[in-house]
């Protein structure tokens, strides 16, 4: 029970993550040559100290969509008796990753200004 509560508390709501998922994936991949799915989830978990937990249900559909859009390419290698797919950014993907990250940064700044509005300011504006 305790574990379950912790798990939910540590995670941001799905809605918040939804719009930024692609950006997170692109950013992660732009930091290294190639990564496989599980590695991405672990890396994100590690960087965010467990606050963001990419689920398989969100990650893999997004990866396949990005691949279909030509932003990612895959390479199959046999590791530990099984096929492992390594994802890496294509040239288009590289450019898109930068755009997306910039966009998110700006969005976050805008959000900050909204969030930092004090009640007085709001009243004055009305």
């Amino acid at each position: 029970m305790y574990v379950k509560v912790m798990y939910i508390c540590l995670m941001y709501s799905k809605e918040l993550l939804k719009g930024t998922l692609k950006t997170i994936i692109l950013k992660m991949l732009s930091e290294s040559d190639s990564m496989y799915g599980y590695q991405i989830t672990q890396k994100v978990k590690e960087i965010t100290e467990g606050k963001i937990n990419l689920t398989e249900g969100a990650l893999y559909p997004a990866l396949h969509k990005l691949e279909a859009d030509g932003l990612l390419s895959t390479e199959k290698k046999t590791v530990g008796n099984r096929v492992r797919k390594y994802y890496s950014l294509t040239q288009t993907g590289n450019g898109r990753a930068k755009e997306k990250v910039e966009e998110l940064k700006e969005f976050m700044e805008t959000l900050t200004t909204i969030i930092n509005l004090t009640p007085q300011k709001l009243a004055w504006q009305i």
Partner: protein
């Protein structure tokens, strides 16, 4: 790192597949992901079995299936409009074909147009769209080839059936090509592809069984013209009419010879000459009609065909043009019969009742080009037989009267 054995991996693959993951590429991802989860758990001291159970359970009851659904949704989101068009054209085509067949069965006007529109919507809009959607949904060289062949085969077959219904040329060739593409290339590719991607289970096998069984049933239904007994009785009927005509003519000749001094019967313009004229006209029309199709055969060959292979002979399509000539064709034949009826009425005072089939209207219409031997020969011969038998009764009536 604790390596998983090949057997372990195979087990996980089966588990992922059993939970409904059909996309090979996604399956690689998920199997690897689950393996990583298990390995991590095993490193912290768990045994393989419980690590596997925990990992699978962490996806939730339908979680693995949902990953595939979500992936398919994301990948096909941009072809939603195309799918919608495909559905609309498909439904329209199906409705048109349904109404076309009802109209056709009821012989209502417009059946042909509805049918052609329906088939065109099906073959030229629905099927290409379906192909495009399939290719986008399931990329891959092999499945693309099998999809293209399958759709091409289906289009050809559909057009073949349409041509057959509309009595247009090339129908059989189109149907055979379409059927061959489907049965000899598409089906093996489909089975091979299914076996290769390990999808050979109910969802693949059932369509194959339905397709093969349905196709065989339909094929035999279309190909079997009629049962053996029906074809024999048809052949007997044909021969009977001819023999009846022959014997009636002999009888008529015998009686009229006995009345040879009677001018009403035997003069040049008499009713007897008219009856004989009708008979020879009937023979001439039948011969012309047969010649219009089988001109390269000698009379002997045609006789042979008629006797031994009546079923095939009877479905041969002759050209109606060959008997439509105003001067010496069917119109002339019918005119002679009218003349005979009139003369008969003058002699006996009774108007004879001859059954002239509705089919003659069709044969006389110049818009109609082809018709099967079976019907044309039957209608001409049986009309001739009626006249000759009528003539027998007249001769006997007259003979009784004279003596």
């Amino acid at each position: 790192m604790a390596d998983l054995t090949e057997q372990n991996i195979r087990e996980i693959e089966v588990l992922v597949e059993a939970r409904g993951v059909e996309m090979q590429e996604l399956s690689y991802d998920l199997v690897d992901h689950i393996c990583c989860m298990i390995e991590e758990k095993m490193e912290s001291g768990k045994n393989y079995t419980s690590a596997l159970e925990e990992s699978i359970a962490s996806f939730g009851k339908k979680g693995i299936r949902q990953i595939q659904e979500e992936t398919t949704f994301l990948l096909t989101k941009n072809i939603l409009a195309m799918r919608k068009t495909m559905h609309i054209t498909g439904i329209t085509a199906a409705i048109l074909l349904l109404f076309g067949s009802i109209f056709k069965i009821q012989h209502w006007p417009g059946a042909g147009i509805i049918y052609v529109l329906g088939a065109a919507a099906l073959c030229l809009l629905f099927m290409p769209l379906f192909l495009a959607v399939r290719i986008k949904e399931k990329p891959g060289k092999l499945s693309t080839i099998s999809n293209i062949v399958g759709i091409l085969g289906a289009i050809t077959l559909c057009f073949g059936i349409l041509f057959k219904i509309m009595h247009w040329p090339w129908a059989s060739i189109l149907m055979n090509i379409g059927g061959a593409l489907l049965a000899l290339i598409f089906l093996p590719l489909y089975v091979y592809h299914g076996a290769k991607t390990k999808q050979l289970k109910t969802s693949t096998i059932v369509p194959i069984i339905v397709a093969v069984a349905g196709f065989s049933l339909m094929f035999s239904l279309v190909r079997l013209q009629s049962s053996h007994n029906v074809s024999i009785s048809r052949s007997n009927y044909h021969n009977n009419i001819n023999q009846n005509i022959e014997s009636t003519i002999i009888l008529n000749n015998t009686i009229s010879a006995e009345l040879k001094n009677d001018s009403t019967i035997n003069s040049k313009e008499s009713i007897n000459t008219l009856a004989l004229k009708i008979n020879s006209k009937s023979d001439e029309l039948c011969a012309n009609f047969i010649q219009s199709k089988l001109s390269e055969y000698s009379d002997e060959d045609i006789k042979q065909k008629e006797q031994t292979d009546f079923e095939n002979f009877s479905i041969t399509m002759g050209s109606l043009n060959s008997i439509q000539n105003q001067e010496n064709g069917l119109p002339q034949f019918l005119k002679l019969i009218e003349e005979y009826k009139a003369t008969y009425t003058t002699i006996t005072g009774v108007e004879p009742n001859l059954l002239i089939n509705n089919n003659f209207e069709y044969y006389l219409n110049k818009q109609n080009k082809m018709f099967a031997f079976r019907f044309v020969l039957r209608d001409i011969n049986s009309l001739n037989l009626q006249v000759q038998q009528l003539h027998t009764s007249l001769l006997q009536y007259y003979k009784g009267k004279v003596s």
